[in-house]
Subunit: 257 residues, 2 copies
Amino acid sequence: MRIGELAALLGVSTRTVRYYHHQGVLPEPPRLANGYREYGMRDAIALARVRRLVSLGLSLDEARDVIADDRSRELPEILVEIDADLARQEQEIRERRRRLAEVLQRAEAGTLGPDVTASPDLLAFLQTVDLPASKAAAWDRELLVLMDSMAAAPDQENAFAMFEMLAADPEVTARGHEFYRRLDELADAELDDPRIAPLAEMLAEYSVRHMPAGAVPDGTDWVEAVEPFLDGLAPAQAEVVRRTVTLLAEASRLSGG
Amino acid sequence: MRIGELAALLGVSTRTVRYYHHQGVLPEPPRLANGYREYGMRDAIALARVRRLVSLGLSLDEARDVIADDRSRELPEILVEIDADLARQEQEIRERRRRLAEVLQRAEAGTLGPDVTASPDLLAFLQTVDLPASKAAAWDRELLVLMDSMAAAPDQENAFAMFEMLAADPEVTARGHEFYRRLDELADAELDDPRIAPLAEMLAEYSVRHMPAGAVPDGTDWVEAVEPFLDGLAPAQAEVVRRTVTLLAEASRLSGG
DNA sequence: TAAGACGTTGACGTCACGTCAAGGTCAAGC
DNA sequence: GCTTGACCTTGACGTGACGTCAACGTCTTA
Protein backbone atom coordinates (compact mmCIF):
# COMPACT_ATOMS: atom_id res chain seq x y z
CA MET A 1 0.00 0.00 0.00
CA ARG A 2 1.12 3.56 -0.63
CA ILE A 3 0.24 6.45 1.61
CA GLY A 4 -2.86 7.48 -0.33
CA GLU A 5 -4.40 4.03 -0.14
CA LEU A 6 -3.68 3.73 3.57
CA ALA A 7 -5.16 7.15 4.24
CA ALA A 8 -8.28 6.42 2.19
CA LEU A 9 -8.66 3.07 3.94
CA LEU A 10 -9.02 4.74 7.32
CA GLY A 11 -10.63 7.94 6.15
CA VAL A 12 -7.84 10.36 7.00
CA SER A 13 -5.67 12.62 4.85
CA THR A 14 -2.16 11.81 3.72
CA ARG A 15 -1.03 14.89 5.61
CA THR A 16 -2.38 13.33 8.78
CA VAL A 17 -0.42 10.12 8.21
CA ARG A 18 2.81 12.01 7.59
CA TYR A 19 2.14 14.18 10.63
CA TYR A 20 1.73 11.07 12.77
CA HIS A 21 5.10 9.85 11.49
CA HIS A 22 6.63 13.20 12.35
CA GLN A 23 5.15 13.07 15.85
CA GLY A 24 6.41 9.54 16.38
CA VAL A 25 2.93 8.19 17.04
CA LEU A 26 3.05 5.96 13.96
CA PRO A 27 6.30 4.21 12.90
CA GLU A 28 7.78 5.03 9.51
CA PRO A 29 7.38 2.10 7.12
CA PRO A 30 10.17 1.01 4.75
CA ARG A 31 10.67 2.96 1.55
CA LEU A 32 10.57 1.69 -2.01
CA ALA A 33 13.44 2.43 -4.39
CA ASN A 34 11.69 5.62 -5.52
CA GLY A 35 11.39 6.90 -1.97
CA TYR A 36 7.69 6.15 -1.58
CA ARG A 37 6.54 4.81 1.78
CA GLU A 38 5.29 1.22 1.59
CA TYR A 39 2.62 0.18 4.11
CA GLY A 40 1.27 -3.19 5.18
CA MET A 41 -1.51 -4.49 7.38
CA ARG A 42 0.46 -3.83 10.58
CA ASP A 43 0.68 -0.17 9.70
CA ALA A 44 -3.03 -0.03 8.98
CA ILE A 45 -3.75 -1.59 12.36
CA ALA A 46 -1.36 0.77 14.08
CA LEU A 47 -3.03 3.73 12.41
CA ALA A 48 -6.45 2.39 13.35
CA ARG A 49 -5.36 2.22 17.00
CA VAL A 50 -4.11 5.79 16.91
CA ARG A 51 -7.35 7.02 15.35
CA ARG A 52 -9.40 5.16 17.93
CA LEU A 53 -7.43 6.58 20.82
CA VAL A 54 -7.57 10.05 19.34
CA SER A 55 -11.29 9.78 18.75
CA LEU A 56 -11.65 8.86 22.42
CA GLY A 57 -10.11 12.21 23.22
CA LEU A 58 -6.43 11.42 23.83
CA SER A 59 -3.86 13.86 22.56
CA LEU A 60 -1.22 12.53 20.18
CA ASP A 61 1.32 12.67 23.01
CA GLU A 62 -0.89 10.54 25.20
CA ALA A 63 -1.64 8.14 22.38
CA ARG A 64 2.09 7.76 21.76
CA ASP A 65 2.70 6.98 25.43
CA VAL A 66 -0.12 4.45 25.57
CA ILE A 67 1.10 2.72 22.41
CA ALA A 68 4.84 2.89 23.10
CA ASP A 69 5.05 0.91 26.31
CA ASP A 70 2.06 -1.23 27.08
CA ARG A 71 0.88 0.82 30.02
CA SER A 72 -2.68 -0.43 29.90
CA ARG A 73 -2.84 0.35 33.63
CA GLU A 74 -2.37 4.00 32.98
CA LEU A 75 -4.96 4.14 30.24
CA PRO A 76 -8.00 3.99 32.53
CA GLU A 77 -6.67 6.92 34.52
CA ILE A 78 -6.27 8.91 31.35
CA LEU A 79 -9.74 7.96 30.22
CA VAL A 80 -11.29 8.95 33.56
CA GLU A 81 -9.51 12.27 33.28
CA ILE A 82 -10.77 12.78 29.75
CA ASP A 83 -14.29 11.89 30.81
CA ALA A 84 -14.17 14.45 33.59
CA ASP A 85 -12.91 17.01 31.12
CA LEU A 86 -15.71 16.18 28.71
CA ALA A 87 -18.25 16.42 31.50
CA ARG A 88 -16.96 19.88 32.32
CA GLN A 89 -17.14 20.91 28.68
CA GLU A 90 -20.68 19.59 28.48
CA GLN A 91 -21.67 21.72 31.44
CA GLU A 92 -20.02 24.76 29.91
CA ILE A 93 -21.88 24.24 26.66
CA ARG A 94 -25.19 23.88 28.49
CA GLU A 95 -24.56 27.09 30.40
CA ARG A 96 -23.64 28.95 27.23
CA ARG A 97 -26.71 27.64 25.42
CA ARG A 98 -28.84 28.77 28.33
CA ARG A 99 -27.46 32.30 28.08
CA LEU A 100 -27.81 32.20 24.31
CA ALA A 101 -31.46 31.27 24.69
CA GLU A 102 -31.98 34.27 26.97
CA VAL A 103 -30.45 36.65 24.48
CA LEU A 104 -32.39 35.10 21.61
CA GLN A 105 -35.62 35.47 23.54
CA ARG A 106 -34.93 39.16 23.94
CA ALA A 107 -34.07 39.37 20.26
CA GLU A 108 -37.45 37.92 19.33
CA ALA A 109 -39.18 40.31 21.65
CA GLY A 110 -37.41 43.14 19.87
CA THR A 111 -35.85 44.47 23.05
CA LEU A 112 -32.32 43.88 21.83
CA GLY A 113 -30.42 47.13 21.71
CA PRO A 114 -26.81 48.03 22.38
CA ASP A 115 -27.34 46.69 25.88
CA VAL A 116 -27.11 43.16 24.55
CA THR A 117 -24.30 42.63 26.99
CA ALA A 118 -26.32 43.34 30.09
CA SER A 119 -27.92 40.64 32.18
CA PRO A 120 -31.72 40.27 32.35
CA ASP A 121 -31.73 41.24 36.01
CA LEU A 122 -29.99 44.48 35.28
CA LEU A 123 -32.22 45.27 32.33
CA ALA A 124 -35.31 44.77 34.45
CA PHE A 125 -33.85 47.06 37.06
CA LEU A 126 -32.95 49.73 34.53
CA GLN A 127 -36.49 49.82 33.22
CA THR A 128 -37.73 50.79 36.66
CA VAL A 129 -35.34 53.72 37.02
CA ASP A 130 -34.36 55.01 33.64
CA LEU A 131 -34.58 58.75 33.06
CA PRO A 132 -33.81 59.33 29.39
CA ALA A 133 -33.68 63.09 29.74
CA SER A 134 -30.84 62.98 32.23
CA LYS A 135 -27.21 62.85 31.21
CA ALA A 136 -26.15 61.95 34.70
CA ALA A 137 -28.59 59.05 34.55
CA ALA A 138 -27.04 57.90 31.29
CA TRP A 139 -23.64 57.90 32.95
CA ASP A 140 -25.00 55.95 35.88
CA ARG A 141 -26.62 53.51 33.53
CA GLU A 142 -23.38 52.91 31.68
CA LEU A 143 -21.58 52.38 34.94
CA LEU A 144 -24.17 49.85 35.99
CA VAL A 145 -23.85 47.93 32.74
CA LEU A 146 -20.12 47.86 33.26
CA MET A 147 -20.43 46.67 36.83
CA ASP A 148 -22.79 43.99 35.68
CA SER A 149 -20.18 42.69 33.27
CA MET A 150 -17.56 42.86 35.95
CA ALA A 151 -19.69 40.74 38.20
CA ALA A 152 -19.30 37.94 35.64
CA ALA A 153 -15.54 38.07 36.07
CA PRO A 154 -14.08 35.87 38.83
CA ASP A 155 -13.57 37.37 42.25
CA GLN A 156 -15.05 40.68 41.25
CA GLU A 157 -18.47 40.33 42.81
CA ASN A 158 -17.60 42.63 45.69
CA ALA A 159 -15.90 45.27 43.60
CA PHE A 160 -17.88 48.46 43.54
CA ALA A 161 -20.48 46.78 45.70
CA MET A 162 -20.88 50.18 47.27
CA PHE A 163 -22.16 51.66 44.04
CA GLU A 164 -24.35 48.68 43.44
CA MET A 165 -26.00 49.05 46.80
CA LEU A 166 -26.37 52.76 46.30
CA ALA A 167 -28.07 52.32 42.97
CA ALA A 168 -30.14 49.24 43.68
CA ASP A 169 -31.69 50.21 46.99
CA PRO A 170 -35.41 51.00 46.60
CA GLU A 171 -35.31 54.01 48.89
CA VAL A 172 -32.42 55.51 46.97
CA THR A 173 -33.95 54.88 43.56
CA ALA A 174 -37.20 56.32 44.74
CA ARG A 175 -35.38 59.61 45.08
CA GLY A 176 -33.43 59.05 41.86
CA HIS A 177 -35.26 61.82 40.04
CA GLU A 178 -34.09 64.35 42.54
CA PHE A 179 -30.48 63.18 42.57
CA TYR A 180 -30.25 63.10 38.80
CA ARG A 181 -31.90 66.49 38.44
CA ARG A 182 -29.50 68.10 40.86
CA LEU A 183 -26.52 66.44 39.14
CA ASP A 184 -27.74 67.61 35.72
CA GLU A 185 -27.96 71.14 36.99
CA LEU A 186 -24.21 71.05 37.59
CA ALA A 187 -23.43 70.27 33.94
CA ASP A 188 -21.96 73.73 33.28
CA ALA A 189 -21.06 74.67 36.82
CA GLU A 190 -17.60 75.63 38.06
CA LEU A 191 -15.59 73.52 40.46
CA ASP A 192 -16.28 75.97 43.30
CA ASP A 193 -20.03 75.88 42.82
CA PRO A 194 -21.75 75.97 46.21
CA ARG A 195 -24.22 73.25 45.19
CA ILE A 196 -21.50 70.59 45.02
CA ALA A 197 -20.83 70.04 48.71
CA PRO A 198 -24.43 69.64 49.92
CA LEU A 199 -25.27 67.20 47.11
CA ALA A 200 -22.25 65.07 47.92
CA GLU A 201 -23.18 65.04 51.58
CA MET A 202 -26.71 64.08 50.75
CA LEU A 203 -25.62 61.22 48.52
CA ALA A 204 -23.10 60.00 51.07
CA GLU A 205 -25.56 60.15 53.88
CA TYR A 206 -28.07 58.11 51.95
CA SER A 207 -25.42 55.60 50.96
CA VAL A 208 -24.10 55.18 54.45
CA ARG A 209 -27.56 54.52 55.78
CA HIS A 210 -28.22 51.80 53.20
CA MET A 211 -24.81 50.27 52.90
CA PRO A 212 -24.61 46.85 54.58
CA ALA A 213 -21.62 46.17 56.78
CA GLY A 214 -18.68 44.68 54.90
CA ALA A 215 -19.91 45.79 51.52
CA VAL A 216 -16.74 47.77 51.03
CA PRO A 217 -13.56 45.67 51.04
CA ASP A 218 -10.54 47.24 52.67
CA GLY A 219 -7.18 47.83 51.12
CA THR A 220 -8.40 49.76 48.13
CA ASP A 221 -8.15 53.46 47.62
CA TRP A 222 -11.67 54.04 46.36
CA VAL A 223 -11.11 57.70 45.78
CA GLU A 224 -8.46 56.82 43.25
CA ALA A 225 -10.26 53.77 41.94
CA VAL A 226 -13.29 55.77 40.87
CA GLU A 227 -11.20 58.27 38.90
CA PRO A 228 -11.09 56.37 35.59
CA PHE A 229 -14.87 56.31 35.43
CA LEU A 230 -15.43 60.04 35.62
CA ASP A 231 -14.52 60.78 32.01
CA GLY A 232 -18.17 61.00 30.97
CA LEU A 233 -19.08 63.64 33.54
CA ALA A 234 -18.74 67.39 33.63
CA PRO A 235 -16.05 68.70 36.04
CA ALA A 236 -18.50 69.76 38.73
CA GLN A 237 -20.39 66.47 38.47
CA ALA A 238 -17.17 64.51 38.76
CA GLU A 239 -16.32 66.56 41.81
CA VAL A 240 -19.60 65.53 43.43
CA VAL A 241 -18.76 61.89 42.92
CA ARG A 242 -15.22 62.37 44.25
CA ARG A 243 -16.48 64.06 47.38
CA THR A 244 -19.17 61.47 47.88
CA VAL A 245 -16.66 58.67 47.67
CA THR A 246 -14.30 60.50 50.00
CA LEU A 247 -17.06 60.93 52.58
CA LEU A 248 -18.01 57.28 52.26
CA ALA A 249 -14.42 56.18 52.70
CA GLU A 250 -14.17 58.24 55.87
CA ALA A 251 -17.39 56.85 57.21
CA SER A 252 -16.22 53.35 56.44
CA ARG A 253 -12.91 53.93 58.20
CA LEU A 254 -14.66 55.31 61.27
CA SER A 255 -17.17 52.51 61.59
CA GLY A 256 -14.80 49.74 60.53
CA GLY A 257 -11.72 50.75 62.59
CA MET B 1 -6.56 53.70 34.03
CA ARG B 2 -3.52 51.91 32.65
CA ILE B 3 -3.68 48.61 30.90
CA GLY B 4 -3.04 46.49 33.97
CA GLU B 5 -5.88 48.07 35.91
CA LEU B 6 -8.30 47.70 33.03
CA ALA B 7 -7.34 44.06 32.56
CA ALA B 8 -7.70 43.27 36.26
CA LEU B 9 -11.05 45.06 36.32
CA LEU B 10 -12.50 42.65 33.76
CA GLY B 11 -10.49 39.61 34.69
CA VAL B 12 -8.43 39.27 31.53
CA SER B 13 -4.70 39.51 30.84
CA THR B 14 -2.94 42.57 29.50
CA ARG B 15 -1.90 40.46 26.53
CA THR B 16 -5.56 39.90 25.76
CA VAL B 17 -6.28 43.63 25.78
CA ARG B 18 -3.36 44.37 23.46
CA TYR B 19 -4.42 41.49 21.21
CA TYR B 20 -7.91 42.98 20.97
CA HIS B 21 -6.34 46.28 19.90
CA HIS B 22 -4.28 44.47 17.29
CA GLN B 23 -7.37 42.69 15.97
CA GLY B 24 -9.32 45.94 15.81
CA VAL B 25 -12.03 44.65 18.10
CA LEU B 26 -11.22 47.24 20.76
CA PRO B 27 -10.20 50.80 19.83
CA GLU B 28 -6.77 52.04 20.86
CA PRO B 29 -7.06 54.66 23.63
CA PRO B 30 -4.95 57.83 23.67
CA ARG B 31 -1.39 57.56 24.92
CA LEU B 32 0.24 59.45 27.75
CA ALA B 33 3.51 61.32 27.19
CA ASN B 34 5.46 58.21 28.20
CA GLY B 35 3.67 56.04 25.63
CA TYR B 36 1.41 54.27 28.10
CA ARG B 37 -2.17 53.62 27.00
CA GLU B 38 -4.70 55.59 29.05
CA TYR B 39 -8.15 54.02 29.47
CA GLY B 40 -11.46 55.42 30.65
CA MET B 41 -14.90 54.07 31.42
CA ARG B 42 -15.84 53.91 27.75
CA ASP B 43 -12.97 51.54 27.09
CA ALA B 44 -13.96 49.39 30.03
CA ILE B 45 -17.50 49.19 28.70
CA ALA B 46 -16.26 48.39 25.20
CA LEU B 47 -14.05 45.63 26.59
CA ALA B 48 -16.93 44.30 28.63
CA ARG B 49 -19.06 44.08 25.48
CA VAL B 50 -16.34 42.20 23.66
CA ARG B 51 -15.93 39.75 26.51
CA ARG B 52 -19.65 39.19 26.69
CA LEU B 53 -19.94 38.50 22.98
CA VAL B 54 -16.91 36.25 23.05
CA SER B 55 -18.25 34.35 26.04
CA LEU B 56 -21.43 33.79 24.05
CA GLY B 57 -19.33 32.02 21.47
CA LEU B 58 -18.66 34.68 18.84
CA SER B 59 -15.24 34.80 17.26
CA LEU B 60 -13.32 38.04 17.51
CA ASP B 61 -14.07 38.69 13.83
CA GLU B 62 -17.79 38.31 14.44
CA ALA B 63 -17.61 40.44 17.59
CA ARG B 64 -15.83 43.15 15.60
CA ASP B 65 -18.54 43.10 12.94
CA VAL B 66 -21.35 43.22 15.48
CA ILE B 67 -19.71 46.12 17.32
CA ALA B 68 -18.49 48.08 14.29
CA ASP B 69 -21.78 48.80 12.57
CA ASP B 70 -24.84 48.32 14.69
CA ARG B 71 -26.09 45.27 12.83
CA SER B 72 -28.25 43.99 15.64
CA ARG B 73 -30.33 42.29 12.95
CA GLU B 74 -27.49 40.04 12.01
CA LEU B 75 -26.69 39.15 15.57
CA PRO B 76 -29.63 36.76 16.07
CA GLU B 77 -28.59 34.82 12.97
CA ILE B 78 -25.09 34.47 14.31
CA LEU B 79 -26.41 33.39 17.68
CA VAL B 80 -28.71 30.77 16.14
CA GLU B 81 -25.77 29.46 14.18
CA ILE B 82 -23.63 29.30 17.29
CA ASP B 83 -26.38 27.54 19.17
CA ALA B 84 -26.66 24.91 16.45
CA ASP B 85 -22.92 24.47 16.57
CA LEU B 86 -23.00 24.07 20.33
CA ALA B 87 -25.83 21.56 20.07
CA ARG B 88 -23.73 19.53 17.65
CA GLN B 89 -20.73 19.69 19.96
CA GLU B 90 -22.90 18.60 22.84
CA GLN B 91 -24.03 15.56 20.89
CA GLU B 92 -20.46 14.71 19.96
CA ILE B 93 -19.38 14.92 23.57
CA ARG B 94 -22.25 12.68 24.66
CA GLU B 95 -21.31 10.11 22.03
CA ARG B 96 -17.68 10.19 23.07
CA ARG B 97 -18.57 9.84 26.72
CA ARG B 98 -20.76 6.87 25.85
CA ARG B 99 -17.86 5.15 24.12
CA LEU B 100 -15.55 6.09 26.96
CA ALA B 101 -17.95 4.51 29.43
CA GLU B 102 -17.88 1.30 27.41
CA VAL B 103 -14.11 1.17 27.42
CA LEU B 104 -13.96 2.00 31.12
CA GLN B 105 -16.42 -0.76 31.88
CA ARG B 106 -14.15 -3.22 30.13
CA ALA B 107 -11.21 -1.77 32.00
CA GLU B 108 -12.91 -2.44 35.32
CA ALA B 109 -13.75 -5.97 34.23
CA GLY B 110 -10.09 -6.47 33.50
CA THR B 111 -10.71 -7.47 29.89
CA LEU B 112 -8.75 -4.56 28.51
CA GLY B 113 -5.86 -5.77 26.42
CA PRO B 114 -4.22 -4.41 23.30
CA ASP B 115 -7.60 -4.80 21.62
CA VAL B 116 -8.77 -1.66 23.37
CA THR B 117 -9.54 -0.27 19.96
CA ALA B 118 -12.07 -2.94 19.03
CA SER B 119 -15.81 -2.47 19.42
CA PRO B 120 -17.80 -4.51 21.95
CA ASP B 121 -19.63 -6.34 19.19
CA LEU B 122 -16.42 -7.50 17.63
CA LEU B 123 -14.95 -8.55 20.97
CA ALA B 124 -18.01 -10.66 21.70
CA PHE B 125 -17.70 -12.25 18.30
CA LEU B 126 -14.00 -12.92 18.73
CA GLN B 127 -14.62 -14.73 22.01
CA THR B 128 -16.84 -17.21 20.20
CA VAL B 129 -14.26 -18.02 17.54
CA ASP B 130 -10.83 -17.35 18.91
CA LEU B 131 -8.25 -20.07 18.45
CA PRO B 132 -5.13 -18.89 20.27
CA ALA B 133 -2.99 -21.75 18.99
CA SER B 134 -3.51 -20.77 15.38
CA LYS B 135 -1.33 -18.22 13.64
CA ALA B 136 -3.76 -17.98 10.76
CA ALA B 137 -6.47 -17.22 13.30
CA ALA B 138 -4.30 -14.49 14.78
CA TRP B 139 -3.95 -12.95 11.32
CA ASP B 140 -7.68 -13.18 10.78
CA ARG B 141 -8.30 -11.62 14.13
CA GLU B 142 -6.01 -8.70 13.35
CA LEU B 143 -7.76 -8.20 10.05
CA LEU B 144 -11.12 -8.20 11.77
CA VAL B 145 -9.97 -5.62 14.30
CA LEU B 146 -8.76 -3.49 11.42
CA MET B 147 -12.01 -3.86 9.51
CA ASP B 148 -13.87 -2.93 12.64
CA SER B 149 -11.92 0.31 12.86
CA MET B 150 -12.50 0.96 9.20
CA ALA B 151 -16.22 0.61 9.73
CA ALA B 152 -16.01 3.67 11.99
CA ALA B 153 -14.61 5.71 9.11
CA PRO B 154 -17.16 7.45 6.90
CA ASP B 155 -18.35 5.68 3.76
CA GLN B 156 -16.32 2.62 4.49
CA GLU B 157 -19.04 0.34 5.83
CA ASN B 158 -19.20 -1.65 2.63
CA ALA B 159 -15.48 -1.98 2.17
CA PHE B 160 -14.36 -5.54 2.69
CA ALA B 161 -17.93 -6.52 3.40
CA MET B 162 -17.06 -9.78 1.71
CA PHE B 163 -14.57 -10.66 4.41
CA GLU B 164 -16.92 -9.53 7.10
CA MET B 165 -19.67 -11.81 5.82
CA LEU B 166 -17.21 -14.61 5.44
CA ALA B 167 -15.99 -14.31 8.99
CA ALA B 168 -19.22 -13.43 10.74
CA ASP B 169 -21.51 -16.09 9.30
CA PRO B 170 -22.34 -18.75 11.91
CA GLU B 171 -22.00 -21.65 9.50
CA VAL B 172 -18.58 -20.46 8.42
CA THR B 173 -17.34 -19.84 11.94
CA ALA B 174 -18.66 -23.20 13.01
CA ARG B 175 -16.11 -24.71 10.66
CA GLY B 176 -13.46 -22.17 11.66
CA HIS B 177 -11.38 -24.75 13.43
CA GLU B 178 -11.02 -26.77 10.26
CA PHE B 179 -10.19 -23.76 8.06
CA TYR B 180 -7.61 -22.44 10.45
CA ARG B 181 -6.05 -25.88 10.97
CA ARG B 182 -5.65 -26.43 7.26
CA LEU B 183 -4.23 -22.92 6.83
CA ASP B 184 -1.77 -23.48 9.67
CA GLU B 185 -0.58 -26.64 8.01
CA LEU B 186 0.58 -24.54 5.08
CA ALA B 187 2.91 -22.41 7.21
CA ASP B 188 6.07 -23.96 5.73
CA ALA B 189 4.65 -25.19 2.45
CA GLU B 190 5.91 -24.22 -0.99
CA LEU B 191 3.88 -22.16 -3.44
CA ASP B 192 3.13 -25.26 -5.55
CA ASP B 193 1.78 -27.25 -2.63
CA PRO B 194 -1.18 -29.34 -3.79
CA ARG B 195 -3.20 -28.48 -0.67
CA ILE B 196 -3.50 -24.84 -1.70
CA ALA B 197 -6.01 -25.12 -4.54
CA PRO B 198 -8.62 -27.29 -2.77
CA LEU B 199 -8.56 -25.13 0.36
CA ALA B 200 -9.08 -21.98 -1.72
CA GLU B 201 -11.95 -23.60 -3.56
CA MET B 202 -13.50 -24.70 -0.30
CA LEU B 203 -13.25 -21.23 1.23
CA ALA B 204 -14.58 -19.58 -1.92
CA GLU B 205 -17.46 -21.99 -2.18
CA TYR B 206 -18.46 -21.36 1.40
CA SER B 207 -18.15 -17.63 0.92
CA VAL B 208 -20.16 -17.58 -2.28
CA ARG B 209 -22.95 -19.51 -0.62
CA HIS B 210 -23.18 -17.09 2.29
CA MET B 211 -22.41 -13.87 0.53
CA PRO B 212 -25.52 -11.66 0.18
CA ALA B 213 -26.13 -10.08 -3.21
CA GLY B 214 -24.51 -6.66 -3.55
CA ALA B 215 -22.11 -7.20 -0.69
CA VAL B 216 -19.20 -6.67 -3.04
CA PRO B 217 -19.17 -3.23 -4.67
CA ASP B 218 -17.99 -3.11 -8.27
CA GLY B 219 -15.15 -1.10 -9.63
CA THR B 220 -12.51 -2.40 -7.25
CA ASP B 221 -9.82 -4.88 -8.06
CA TRP B 222 -10.16 -6.99 -4.95
CA VAL B 223 -7.29 -9.24 -5.89
CA GLU B 224 -5.00 -6.25 -5.75
CA ALA B 225 -6.77 -4.64 -2.84
CA VAL B 226 -6.12 -7.60 -0.56
CA GLU B 227 -2.40 -7.65 -1.30
CA PRO B 228 -1.28 -5.18 1.37
CA PHE B 229 -2.85 -7.31 4.06
CA LEU B 230 -0.94 -10.51 3.34
CA ASP B 231 2.33 -9.45 4.96
CA GLY B 232 1.61 -11.46 8.09
CA LEU B 233 1.07 -14.74 6.29
CA ALA B 234 3.41 -17.38 4.98
CA PRO B 235 3.73 -17.51 1.16
CA ALA B 236 1.52 -20.56 0.72
CA GLN B 237 -1.10 -19.13 3.06
CA ALA B 238 -1.10 -15.84 1.20
CA GLU B 239 -1.54 -17.80 -2.00
CA VAL B 240 -4.65 -19.43 -0.58
CA VAL B 241 -6.13 -16.04 0.16
CA ARG B 242 -5.22 -14.73 -3.29
CA ARG B 243 -6.85 -17.66 -5.01
CA THR B 244 -9.90 -17.43 -2.81
CA VAL B 245 -10.37 -13.79 -3.66
CA THR B 246 -9.78 -14.51 -7.35
CA LEU B 247 -12.45 -17.19 -7.31
CA LEU B 248 -14.85 -14.90 -5.45
CA ALA B 249 -14.25 -12.12 -7.96
CA GLU B 250 -15.02 -14.47 -10.84
CA ALA B 251 -18.17 -15.71 -9.16
CA SER B 252 -19.24 -12.16 -8.50
CA ARG B 253 -18.63 -11.18 -12.14
CA LEU B 254 -20.60 -14.16 -13.38
CA SER B 255 -23.60 -13.61 -11.14
CA GLY B 256 -23.53 -9.82 -11.31
CA GLY B 257 -23.03 -9.49 -15.12
C1' DT C 1 20.61 55.24 43.51
C1' DA C 2 19.03 50.70 43.20
C1' DA C 3 15.24 47.56 43.17
C1' DG C 4 10.99 46.07 41.75
C1' DA C 5 6.71 46.61 39.55
C1' DC C 6 4.76 48.36 35.81
C1' DG C 7 4.65 49.60 30.59
C1' DT C 8 6.25 49.09 25.42
C1' DT C 9 7.03 46.24 20.91
C1' DG C 10 8.24 42.03 18.71
C1' DA C 11 8.82 37.27 18.00
C1' DC C 12 7.99 32.57 18.83
C1' DG C 13 5.04 28.49 20.77
C1' DT C 14 0.64 26.19 21.30
C1' DC C 15 -2.48 21.79 18.63
C1' DA C 16 -3.63 18.98 14.84
C1' DC C 17 -3.44 19.36 11.01
C1' DG C 18 -4.79 22.30 5.90
C1' DT C 19 -2.73 24.35 2.11
C1' DC C 20 0.58 25.71 -1.05
C1' DA C 21 5.20 25.41 -3.48
C1' DA C 22 8.51 23.12 -6.12
C1' DG C 23 9.68 19.42 -7.58
C1' DG C 24 10.24 13.70 -8.64
C1' DT C 25 7.74 9.20 -10.30
C1' DC C 26 4.73 6.49 -12.85
C1' DA C 27 0.98 4.67 -16.08
C1' DA C 28 -1.78 5.79 -20.00
C1' DG C 29 -2.84 7.92 -24.32
C1' DC C 30 -1.16 10.47 -28.52
C1' DG D 1 8.99 9.94 -27.45
C1' DC D 2 5.95 13.37 -25.48
C1' DT D 3 2.35 15.10 -22.79
C1' DT D 4 -1.04 14.75 -19.36
C1' DG D 5 -2.59 13.84 -14.96
C1' DA D 6 -2.47 11.40 -10.70
C1' DC D 7 0.33 10.31 -7.24
C1' DC D 8 4.53 10.90 -4.24
C1' DT D 9 8.45 13.69 -1.75
C1' DT D 10 10.10 17.57 1.59
C1' DG D 11 9.52 22.04 3.43
C1' DA D 12 7.34 26.13 4.87
C1' DC D 13 3.57 28.89 6.26
C1' DG D 14 -1.39 29.58 8.21
C1' DT D 15 -5.05 28.64 11.51
C1' DG D 16 -7.34 31.12 16.77
C1' DA D 17 -6.78 33.27 20.84
C1' DC D 18 -3.90 34.13 23.21
C1' DG D 19 0.80 32.56 26.69
C1' DT D 20 5.49 33.35 27.26
C1' DC D 21 9.87 35.27 26.75
C1' DA D 22 13.24 38.91 25.37
C1' DA D 23 15.02 43.38 25.52
C1' DC D 24 14.03 47.61 26.71
C1' DG D 25 11.84 52.14 28.86
C1' DT D 26 9.29 54.29 32.99
C1' DC D 27 7.71 55.13 37.53
C1' DT D 28 7.52 54.66 42.59
C1' DT D 29 9.57 53.61 46.76
C1' DA D 30 13.35 52.59 50.27
